[in-house]
Symmetry: C2
C-alpha cells in the first residue's frame, strides 16, 4: 500500500485550492438534525489503518455535508473567523514543525516571532508604545486573564495564595458586553452577582454616569471595585463604549481597565476609525482577535497589557522541572493559563507579510464599504428598518412586517427561513426587547455581488412570509 | 507576481516531507541567547506584501535556526508533543476549512466527529462506558475545568453566582503532581494555601493514609474538601498514584476525583498497562493528552467526565445572540472555558484511521521497549544510577560522579553539556533533593539506534567531565 505523505499532502492542497474557488456552491449552513453526521460512522475505532485516499474520500462524503462554511462569502453570522491562503500555509508549516512554545527554550523562534508580530500589531493599531503583547487562543481566555490579574492586583496578590477574602470584589461592564466577561467573573470566583451591568445609552454605549454612580455606591457599601471591561465594539451591534471617560474613572479609582476589542479592534488599522477612538492609552489591558477580521484562521487572540508583570505575578508558577533561568519575561506560559502553547505567531507573520499592512487596510476598508452598501439597501426599503446605527460593517435591522403580527415572531421566522435556504447565513441579537437580524460582512472574500445577492435573498424570503 | 496558493502549498508539503526525513541533521535544541532571532527581523511591519517564496526563504533562514526540534528522535525532554503525517494532513485540512466549532450549528460535523473520536478513545483506553468526552486545548485547561466544576458542585453552584463563601475549600494532590493543579487552584480563587500536598511513598506515589488524615483534619477544622487530583503518571517520574484507594476515599467523602493522566494515559491502550491500573471507574473526571503520545500534533487534550451536566452547570451561560435551541448537551463551548473551538476532532480521526488501533498500540509498546533498553544501559553502567524505578518510558537517573564533588552540581553541568551539544535534548527533575536527569523516549520515530546513540552521547559527556 502506497501511502505517501507528499502525495496525500498535495492532494489536500489541491482539495483546499478547489474548495476556496467552489465554496459558494455549498450551502452556507447545512440543514441537519443532531446525530445525522454521527450515524454515518462506525461506533468502534478501526483496528487496522487505511490509506490517505480512503480517509479523504470519507472526509468529502461524510464530513463536508456537515460543515457550516465559515469561508463562504454568504457567511454573515456571528463574527467571522476569517481566513486566507497565507494563514493556511502557515498552519501547515506549524503542524509540520510540531513545536510547542511553552517556554523560550522550547523554541526560541516561537517566542521571539511572537514578540515581533505583537509589536507589529501594536504599531498597526497605534496602540500605546508601552503595551506588551502575547498571543492567546481566544478572547474568552484573554479576558479571563485580565479579570484574574485584576483580582490579584486589587487583593495585593493574596487571593492566589489564601483564596478569597471577606470583601466582595466587583467587576463592571455594560449590559451589551460579551458573555465571556460574565464567564470570566464566574471562573475567577467573583460571582456573577458581583458583575455590575451598567446601563447603555440610545446608541448602546455604556452610560458613564451610571458607571460612576455604581462604583461610588459599591465603595460606600464596602465592595472592592476590581475591573471595568469596556467594549470597543459590542458583539450585538458593534457599539464603542466611551473609553476615555471610562479610563478616567478607572484611573481615579485605581481600577483595572480592560478593553474588549475582539472584532472591531481589527479596524483600528484604519486611520479614520483609529482617530475616532479615544482613550485606549488609559487601558490596563486590551484584546482583539486577528482570527476574527485579519485573515488569520482561528485561533489567534492578541492580548496586550500595560505591564507584563501584572500577568506574570498572577500566572508564573514555575516548578523545578521546568526551571531554566529564563523565566517570566520570555516564557510566555507565565503570562497566562495554559502551559502548552501553539506557534501561532507564524500565522500572523505569514499573513502580515503576504498582505502587507496596506493590503490588510484595503480589505478591512472594503468590508466597511460593503457594510454601508447593505445598510443603504435596508434604509432605502420601505419594508425594513435599521434598529441601531451601523457600526463598521455590522448592520442590525428588521423586517417591519405588516398588520398586527408579532414583529419578533415574524423576524424569527424570517431568519429561520433565510438560514435554511443555505444561501446566506445571518444571526440575530436582541435590542431593547426586539428580535433583530444581524448582518456582518467580514468574510475575507466578500464582494459587492454577495451583498446584492444577500439583499435579494432577504427580500425574497420576506415577500414569501406575506 | 505569481503567488499561487497551490504552488506554495505544494512547496510547503515538500518542505515538510524533506524536514521529516532530515530532521536529525538539525541540532535538537539551538544554542542561542534571547534576542538572537528577534534581531533578524524588521522592527516595523511591512507596508507591501511579498510573495510566498520570499516568506518561505526567510522562514528557512531566520526561523528554523531558532527552532527546538520536538520531532527530532533525539528529543527526550519534558513530555513529547509527538506528531505524525496524518496529523499534519488533518491540521492542513482544518486550516483550509477554517470552521469554528463553538456550537453544534456552527459546524455539526465538528461537534459530531468530536463525539465520535471521544467514544473511540474511550473504547481504546477502556474507560468507563458512562464517561462523556470533550476535546480541550491542554491538560492545564482540562484540569482547571475539573477544579472549577468541583468548586461549583461542592458549593451547590453558589460560587459562580455569589462569589466565594466563608468556608475555605480544599484541594488535594501529591507533592509530585503537575504544576497545572496549583495553577487551577489559584485561578479558581481557592488559593494555593488550600492546595494540600499529600506525602508520597518511596515510589513517589501518593500516600493514601496521609490523604485520609489530611481530609479528616480539614473537615474537623471546618474546611470543605472539594477535589482530589490523582496522577496516572506524574510529570517527574511517571509514578501512578493508588487510584482505587483514592477513589474510595473520595466516594466516602463525596469529593470530586480528577485523574491527571496527561502523558501516561496514552499507554492505557496497552492491555498490560491497562490491567495494572485500578480505579479509573471511580473518577469524576479524567484527562489525557493525545498530543503527548498519540501522534496527534499539539493541541489535543481529551477530557472525560462522569456526568456532562457537571460541566454544563458550571460553564453554560448562553446569551440571546447565541441561543439556537440546541444548547448544553451538543454545544461544546458550554462544557468549558473558551467560546471559540478548533476542529481538533479531525486530527484524531485522521490519526486513528491511519494507524488503526493496532498501529497505535504497536508504536506505544515499542516506545516502552526502548525505555527498557535505555534503562538497561544505565543500570548496567557502574558510573550511573537509576534514581526511581522506570515507569513506562520515563527514566530518571544520574551520573554517580567520583570523589567528593557535589553530585547535583555535576549532574546539572552534565545536562547542560549534553543539551548544548545539540545532539540530544533531555530535561531534569528533582527527586528527594537530587538533581536527576530525565529521559523520555516517546518521539514518534525514535528507534533502537537513537537510544544507543543517546547513551553514547551521555557517556561521552560524562567522561569529559572527569
Amino acid at each position: 500500500m502506497e501511502n505517501s505523505f507528499s502525495k496525500a499532502g498535495k492532494r489536500i492542497i489541491d482539495w483546499i485550492d478547489n474548495y476556496f474557488s467552489t465554496v459558494e456552491k455549498f450551502p452556507v449552513k447545512p440543514n441537519l438534525n443532531p446525530g445525522d453526521i454521527e450515524k454515518l460512522f462506525d461506533y468502534a475505532p478501526p483496528l487496522k489503518g487505511v490509506n490517505y485516499d480512503e480517509i479523504l474520500h470519507d472526509f468529502e462524503k461524510k464530513i463536508i455535508p456537515g460543515i457550516t462554511h465559515w469561508q463562504h462569502p454568504g457567511f454573515h453570522a456571528y463574527f467571522p473567523a476569517n481566513n486566507s491562503e497565507p494563514s493556511v500555509l502557515a498552519e501547515t508549516l506549524m503542524a509540520g514543525l510540531g513545536v510547542q512554545g511553552m517556554k523560550w527554550i522550547t523554541s526560541p523562534a516561537a517566542t521571539e516571532l511572537e514578540k515581533l508580530v505583537m509589536r507589529w500589531l501594536q504599531q498597526m493599531l497605534k496602540l500605546p508604545a508601552d503595551f506588551k503583547g502575547v498571543l492567546m487562543d481566544t478572547a474568552s481566555v484573554s479576558t479571563l486573564c485580565a479579570v484574574l490579574s485584576a483580582r490579584e492586583r486589587v487583593s495585593d496578590y493574596t487571593i492566589n495564595k489564601d483564596g478569597f477574602m471577606d470583601k466582595k470584589l466587583r467587576v463592571y461592564c455594560s449590559a451589551e458586553a460579551h458573555s465571556s466577561v460574565e464567564k470570566a467573573v464566574r471562573i475567577a470566583g467573583i460571582g456573577s452577582d458581583n458583575l455590575v451591568k451598567i446601563e447603555v445609552d440610545d446608541l448602546l454605549k455604556m452610560n458613564t454616569s451610571d458607571l460612576k454612580i455604581k462604583i461610588d455606591n459599591d465603595i460606600e457599601n464596602g465592595y472592592l471595585p476590581c475591573c471595568v471591561v469596556g467594549a470597543l465594539g459590542t458583539t450585538g451591534s458593534g457599539a464603542v463604549d466611551p473609553l476615555e471617560e471610562i479610563g478616567k474613572i478607572c484611573l481615579e479609582n485605581n481600577i483595572w481597565f480592560h478593553i474588549d476589542a475582539a472584532y472591531s479592534g481589527n479596524a483600528l488599522v484604519l486611520a479614520d476609525f483609529r482617530d475616532s477612538v479615544k482613550g485606549i492609552e488609559l487601558a490596563t489591558s486590551f484584546v482583539f482577535n486577528p482570527h476574527k477580521w485579519m485573515f488569520t484562521n482561528f485561533d489567534a487572540s492578541a492580548f496586550f497589557v500595560k505591564d507584563s508583570s501584572l500577568l506574570t505575578k498572577t500566572f508564573s508558577l514555575v516548578p523545578p522541572y521546568l526551571q531554566t533561568g529564563h523565566e517570566d519575561e520570555i516564557d510566555f506560559s507565565n503570562w497566562g493559563i495554559q502551559l502548552g502553547r501553539r506557534f501561532r505567531a507564524l500565522k500572523l507573520w505569514y499573513v502580515i507579510r503576504t498582505f502587507g499592512v496596506d493590503g490588510i487596510k484595503e480589505k478591512i476598508g472594503k468590508h466597511i464599504e460593503l457594510g454601508k452598501r447593505f445598510e443603504k439597501y435596508i434604509s432605502d426599503s420601505p419594508d425594513f428598518e435599521i434598529i441601531t446605527p451601523r457600526n463598521l460593517n455590522i448592520i442590525c435591522f428588521r423586517y417591519k412586517s405588516t398588520g398586527s403580527k408579532d414583529k419578533n415572531a415574524v423576524n424569527e421566522k424570517l431568519l429561520e427561513s433565510i438560514n435554511n435556504s443555505g444561501k446566506i447565513f445571518l444571526s440575530h441579537t436582541m435590542i431593547r426587547g426586539n428580535f433583530v437580524l444581524r448582518f456582518v460582512c467580514g468574510q475575507t472574500n466578500v464582494e459587492e455581488k454577495h451583498i446584492d445577492n444577500a439583499w435579494n435573498i432577504i427580500r425574497q424570503h420576506a415577500q414569501e412570509l406575506k
